[in-house]
């Protein structure tokens, strides 16, 4: 067997709940407090790596977990929790776990629309991508053009996107079109280490590397015309801009710091876990609260980061097309967080209850009438932005009422990898992929050619199957699909 480290676990026995939902009973593993549920059509379930089953059943063992530990169809193994993991913990008796959020705190997606069409953009595509590539720094340790003082960084931790808008990065209506208005409450900069601040202070307005990117896309197909129109999507061929990034070195260090703290805290609280990356602390404990307050700072940093990138994107379009961003109707459709924990109310056993919702590689997808949503999305449910691989395209979805009872108002976050980076770049060369994409009319600029190869479409699951799974489950519905025209990445 290559590398010899793979598969030590077998797939557990699973009960079929529906064509797209499978349950692992608590009898599978000692210590499981609730069953684990995997959302996947049969084909995806069969292809899922075994680490997912091991990890999601470990999550089901954590104190205070409610109803089910859930894994989304784009699931693959992660650190502690699988990517695609969703879990709710009682705020009084439950835990908070950095492994249930991820190192990239508030990694997320943002989608801007325009009134341009493919025909408008195609002749200027190269100029547009080159301009964006220059304006939005990407790659290893990239530093931004925005120079912050420590006092400004503190204000960002406390105010998130609002700080960015007040300082000239973006429009005030962007805040209504951002999850939680771009501000997670409870941030306390005193709980953030000096190291985390030093790592993050020069990185506002940068993309990072790995699977982070900024993409110029066109609407391929509209599935719900009425809803799409309400959100400003009028026709196939309309140009949008989607990007994926998070809290950069700042959030990565907060996660690293608290994973360390929690290792010691668990001994004191008598919690044992099956995996060092599953370190956790009671949510109500000092350590649990400290992490929650520090995580909110990093989450707000990520919102401000995406807000700055949105502003720079508008400026690039203005420069290339010689029209104002307002005239180009470059409004923000939404911004979603897919690596985060927050306190939310959910109905459990007939009562509404406060829980610490963990979503790791999973997106909030609230249906209509949730008080967290702004007035504009109250009647419809919230927009959900799903980024696919560069070659396969992306989706805009909407949350449903059923999501609230099925998955704590959560759905997938992307297509999910099936092949390691090291293997993908043995199979594909970055320069060849770039040429091949150019043949398909997609212009790509990347800081790293090997990094580009690692993101090849063949390394990912079929996004259509992943999105279809949650559509069949009734959790999220398709509004439109989007295809790439241009892409910048780290």
């Amino acid at each position: 067997m290559p590398d010899d480290h793979a598969a030590e676990f077998a797939k557990p026995p699973m009960k079929k709940i529906s064509d797209v939902c499978w349950e692992i009973d608590t009898s599978f593993k000692e210590g499981m407090r609730v069953p684990a549920r995997i959302y996947a059509m049969k084909k995806l379930l069969d292809e899922m790596d075994v680490g997912v089953f091991e990890q999601i059943t470990n999550v089901a063992c954590l104190p205070g977990i409610q109803k089910h530990a859930i894994c989304m169809p784009d699931g693959h193994w992660g650190y502690g929790f699988p990517i695609g993991g969703v879990a709710a913990f009682d705020t009084k008796t439950g835990v908070i776990s950095p492994g249930g959020i991820g190192f990239d705190i508030n990694c997320g997606m943002r989608l801007l629309r325009t009134n341009l069409t493919v025909d408008d953009v195609r002749p200027k595509l190269k100029e547009l991508v080159d301009t964006l590539f220059k304006a939005v720094p990407a790659g290893v340790g990239a530093r931004g053009a925005i120079k912050l003082t420590r006092a400004q960084l503190r204000a960002i931790m406390l105010n998130g996107s609002k700080w960015a808008v007040e300082n000239g990065y973006g429009w005030s209506e962007d805040l209504d079109h951002t999850e939680d208005y771009g501000l997670i409450k409870g941030a306390d900069p005193e709980k953030v280490s000096d190291k985390a601040q030093t790592r993050g202070i020069e990185q506002l307005g940068t993309l990072g590397s790995g699977n982070h990117y900024l993409e110029i896309q066109y609407v391929e197909r509209i599935f719900d015309e009425e809803l799409a129109k309400k959100w400003g999507i009028h026709q196939p061929g309309q140009i949008c801009v989607m990007f994926h990034c998070g809290s950069r070195g700042f959030g990565h260090q907060v996660a690293t710091d608290y994973l360390n703290t929690f290792g010691d805290a668990m001994k004191r609280y008598g919690i044992s876990v099956r995996d060092r990356e599953l370190a956790c602390a009671p949510f109500s404990s000092k350590e649990g609260q400290d992490y929650f307050h520090a995580m909110a700072c990093a989450a707000n940093g990520a919102f401000a980061n995406r807000q700055a990138i949105a502003s720079m994107t508008r400026k690039c379009f203005e420069k290339v097309f010689g029209r104002s961003a307002e005239d180009l109707d470059m409004a923000q459709i939404y911004d979603v967080a897919h690596n985060i924990a927050k306190v939310e109310q959910h109905e459990i056993d007939g009562h509404f209850k406060d829980v610490v919702m963990h979503r790791k590689g999973a997106t909030r997808c609230f249906g209509p009438h949730r008080p967290e949503l702004p007035a504009v999305y109250q009647p419809t449910g919230q927009p959900v932005i799903i980024g696919g691989s560069m070659e396969t395209g992306s989706f805009l979805l909407v949350g449903t009422e059923k999501a609230m009872t099925e998955t704590f108002g959560s759905t997938m976050h992307g297509s999910g990898r099936t092949m390691s980076r090291t293997k993908a770049k043995h199979i594909v060369r970055g320069s060849e992929l770039q040429q091949q994409m150019q043949k398909h009319g997609i212009y790509v600029r990347s800081v790293s050619m090997s990094g580009l190869a690692e993101e090849a479409g063949l390394a990912y699951k079929n996004l259509n199957d992943v999105v279809e799974t949650m559509e069949i489950a009734g959790v999220s519905r398709k509004v439109c699909s989007l295809k790439p025209l241009g892409n910048i990445k780290g």
């Binding site: 067997m1 290559p2 590398d3 010899d4 480290h5 793979a6 790596d49 693959h76 193994w77 992660g78 650190y79 502690g80 990517i83 190192f103 990239d104 790659g139 290893v140 340790g141 990239a142 530093r143 190291k195 030093t198 790592r199 993050g200 020069e202 990185q203 990072g208 590397s209 790995g210 699977n211 950069r248 070195g249 990565h252 260090q253 996660a255 690293t256 994973l259 995996d275 060092r276 990356e277 990898r417 099936t418 092949m419 390691s420 980076r421 090291t422 293997k423 043995h426 800081v447 790293s448 090997s450 990094g451 690692e454 780290g490």
Partner: protein, 148 residues
Amino acid sequence: MVSGNFSKKFKFLEEIAIADVAFEAYGTTEMELFENAALAVEETMVNTAGINPKVKKEIEIEADELDKLLFDFLSELVYYKDAEALLFSKFKVNVGKNAKYKLMAEVSGEPFDSSKHELRNDIKAITWHMFKVEQTAKGWKCLIIVDV
């Protein structure tokens, strides 16, 4: 388990880290293991052949366990990448033990420049996932997965 390839300094693994990067590093001594693991961390981010060792940093770390010492040492390299834009190519490591394990290292490199250096993946963090340091008949070996 793996039959360690001790003629190499390190090896990237294809089959375990789907979304991230996994490697094994080797050394005849603990010091050499630490130096080779550090090189693998930097090689994940850049082609170190192009990194001129002109800026020197001293790193001192204490830990109760050897694996924590290695974890913290490698995390320090990730920190310097963001905090001072430094990538390293030369490592001199000393590891000792009294009441605790103690590391003293001298690492050398330069600020990175995307127009000059072949940059690869940005490491977010060193992780504990499958983290392993072990002594075998042939020498020392570690397995490390980094989040990128």
